[in-house]
Amino acid sequence: MCLQLKRKLQSITNKSLPAIAVAVILIVWQILTGTRIIPPFLLPSPVDVVKAFVDDFPLLLSNSAVTLAEMFIGLVTGTAIGFFMAVIMDRFTSLYKAFYPLVVITQTIPTVAIAPLLVLWFGYEMLPKIILIVIIVFFPITVSLLEGFRSADPDMINLMRSMGATNLQIFRHVKFPGALPQFFSSLKIAVSYAVVGAVISEWLGGFNGLGVYMTRVRKAYAFDKMFAVIFLVSAISLLLMFIIGILQKKCMPWKEKEKKI
């Protein structure tokens, strides 16, 4: 009983430590800006940021909807392409040898350099933004899934073959479920990249979205609004990562049981 209480207290302490750290940073920030040690034109106070957030909430909401739509389409498409690439590269060694270097090269090109070209080729609508998100997202998905597929236990595969399993059955029963932990880890990375990618692509051209809003408030030197949108983007990323965490728990119930043992 005493040990259980100790563990519970430890768990509460572990969970509250980040919240305390954030609170301390906010208080220090408020003191520095409230006492004008740092002038407000350089750094707005947390209270000003909250006020700007509340005042512009309807505008932020409508722009968020556009950014989220781009992000969602890009994420789903990028994940699907990443999944497909990982499957075929795992199945055919020649395709792995041919495509893997190309997959890596796509990540060495700076996003900020591609984005204007995409705008030039595909205009100011959603398409160039989605393409950019797809380029950003498919890499972590492909690499992690491929790693997961390739780390399947060869003895397990031999056992499946001895049972008469086809390649598809081996994929379904061994490789895919075995790669789920890597898939969800990469999906968490991909979703935060996708949100950032959507915002960056909107900086370079567009009519709506949080990136467009960010550009406008920056040009107006409204840094309180700038910080408000930065925190919103951060909050969206965290929320999406949290949702993926829940999805992971639902899809991998055995991991929860393992934790309890």
Partner: protein, 245 residues
């Protein structure tokens, strides 16, 4: 007619140097036969040939008189690692070979469910492998092997990863369950005591390339008394085997 027969089998990975050579083994219905020999003697290669995962350059494998050389899916084997899938429940792990053969999941679950108490696994159906002890996991792995076995099981050092006490318990349990299900079994082991205790016959493998050096019949009634390994007869078998290795 033998349940399983391996005739003049030779196998080489590179096509030049044989790993096993001229292997002849017979397994009769309901019999437990051990392959005993040093590591690297080609025992696991021989299992891969028997199960059809490898095709030998020479020789043939027959199951119930039908040639099955190079054909997998005819029998399953069980390794030192239980190879239970951590993401499937015990019943789904055991039902997997039936599902692979095309059986509906619900039917497969029902069929495997009938054997849970026989294998001492009742109550573990919905558990994940991580929730089971080493011994229970090996029982589940053996039941899975049994489900796909065509009444022939190949067991590759199934108890070597267990601690001594669990291993003793597993040996008693194994002899009991094998007596009931009459599963024709080939067992790879490095443990002479285990081979004598569990087997009807023992093939001694040795040399390079590996080949059958001797065959010993353990002429003792089954199920064997739990104190059999303390008898003089047991020690005589052991001395005979040691002299051959």
């Amino acid at each position: 007619m033998a349940k399983l027969e391996v005739k003049d089998v030779s196998f080489s990975y590179d096509g030049k140097t044989n790993v096993i050579e001229n292997i002849n083994i017979k397994l009769n219905k309901g019999e437990i036969v051990s392959l005993l020999g040093a590591s690297g003697g080609g025992k696991t290669t021989l299992f891969n040939v028997i199960s059809g995962l490898l095709t030998p350059q020479r020789g043939s494998v027959f199951l119930d008189g039908e040639e099955i050389t190079g054909k997998h899916g005819k029998m399953s084997y069980m390794l030192q690692k239980d190879l239970l899938m951590e993401y499937k429940t015990i019943e789904d792990n055991i039902a997997l070979p039936l599902i692979i053969k095309g059986e509906k999941k619900s039917d497969a679950r029902k069929r495997v469910g009938e054997h849970f108490s026989e294998f001492g696994l009742e109550g573990t159906e919905k558990c994940y492998p991580a929730e089971l002890s080493g011994g229970m996991r090996q029982r589940a792995a053996l039941l899975r092997t049994y489900m796909v076995s065509n009444n022939v099981a190949l067991l590759d050092e199934p108890f070597s990863a267990l601690d001594t006490l669990t291993k003793d318990d597993m040996h008693k349990w194994f002899l009991g369950v094998m007596d009931r299900i009459r599963l024709s079994t080939i067992l790879i082991t490095h443990d002479i005591d285990e081979a004598i205790l569990l087997s009807d016959r023992i093939y001694i493998l040795g040399g390079n390339p590996g080949s059958v050096k001797n065959e010993i019949v353990i002429d003792e009634e089954k199920p064997r008394n739990k104190d059999f390994n303390l008898t003089e007869r047991f020690l005589n078998y052991k001395k005979e085997i040691i002299s051959m290795l």
